[in-house]
Symmetry: C2
Subunit: 210 residues, 2 copies
DNA sequence: TAGATTGTTAATCGATTAACAATC
DNA sequence: TAGATTGTTAATCGATTAACAATC
């Protein structure tokens, strides 16, 4: 494996990607790390350091070609490939995320939802079918699944995640309010803890009012 | 203002809170930083350092009283007070979050939703009314609003946020895929960028498969 | 009292920023 | 060629970990 890149850097890459996308829409052809640093409110040094973890995308005296850099960061983030996602849990959150079509632009395709609630059986969200949980094993055997998104109660999250890993799934997008402790440490887990985020906000409100 | 506490520490506080809550449910009365560090997969040193930013909550030779520490962290995070939230955008995501009752346990109460779509007028989500956007000013004048959650298209996010700030709102929970650049820098903004999170996941998938 | 474990200081590690030689 | 701006090394800053004296 190559030199490990810190998660601090990875966290910033989607933000670069977003700003470059905006520049592209504005028709900007090239940008210097200095100009970009003013837009993004970070230092030019950090931008250059971050990018040079992955390669030399710029040119002295010129700066960075927006389109080229945008595409390269896209590749770094794996957006040049399609990722099939299944939603485990077809409740409000699961359906909301499924309805959020924007992800498809980046190559993330939701292909199926799963739930235990019998009344959901046979229903669809944007033409995407909702299956029952007992159909999961069969589905995973017959279809390519890259990511499983967990939008189910935290009590069921751990067991379900382990089951998904046993079925061969290598990546979990976890919305349940627990830290998943999986047997296979090579499985990638990305947590979205909405209440944590709300609590951080709340902390900053209290601090500010002092 | 007191000594500034780093965001790295703040980000970890909700996690401590969650683990202490679990210990509480398990009926555990006291815990040492060492035991907790094993459960949470962090160093005991970090736990003690983090907590001592806010005060000495433990006792030599004993450790930490779970209930006491849980409550104290709750206070630090502002969970001892109620926070009224309005949802700006009553689409799928707005409704999904509104339906997520768990937040109420921590004192976050969603009191109203707002949208521009006429067909939503007069509708409710869990008995919480959906209003039209032109009723927003009036609502904010008559009701205490602590947090505005933005679940609307990114094109409208910036202007709407600025409008909310003008109405006196001091905290924004932003789900729109933009960085809000507000005139009043004392307004607290907490971003939830779902696509950024998905891209981080995607990066780690690509990296892992190498 | 002896043992356990904190609170806190000191040492280390990693990430950010600054500086500048290389080069387009 | 001169000017601009990168890529990269060095310096600084901040966060994490280790160590231990204080103390329950």
């Amino acid at each position: 494996m190559e030199k490990e890149i810190s998660q601090a850097v990875i966290r910033r890459m989607p933000r670069y990607y977003r700003y470059l996308g905006e520049l592209l829409e504005e028709g900007v052809e090239r940008i210097s790390s200095n100009d970009l640093s003013h837009r993004m409110m970070v230092t030019a040094s950090q931008i250059r350091q971050d990018l040079n973890n992955f390669g030399g995308f710029g040119q002295q005296g010129y700066g960075y070609n927006v389109k080229y850099l945008y595409d390269e960061i896209g590749k770094i983030l794996g957006l040049n490939e399609t990722h099939n996602i299944i939603m485990i849990g077809a409740g409000n959150l699961g359906q909301a995320i499924t309805n959020y079509v924007k992800f498809e632009r980046f190559g993330f395709i939701i292909t199926a939802l799963f739930d235990v609630k019998p009344s959901l059986k046979g229903q669809t969200v944007r033409d995407i079918p909702i299956y029952m949980m007992d159909e999961l094993d069969d589905y995973c055997k017959k279809n390519k699944v890259d990511i499983a998104a967990l939008t189910l109660p935290k009590e069921k999250a751990e067991d379900t995640a382990q089951h998904l890993v046993n079925l061969g799934i290598r990546a979990i997008w976890n919305f349940a309010h627990v830290d998943l402790d999986l047997s296979d440490k090579s499985v990638v887990v990305e947590n979205v803890h909405l209440s944590d985020s709300l609590m951080q906000l709340s902390y900053n409100i209290v601090k500010n009012s002092k």
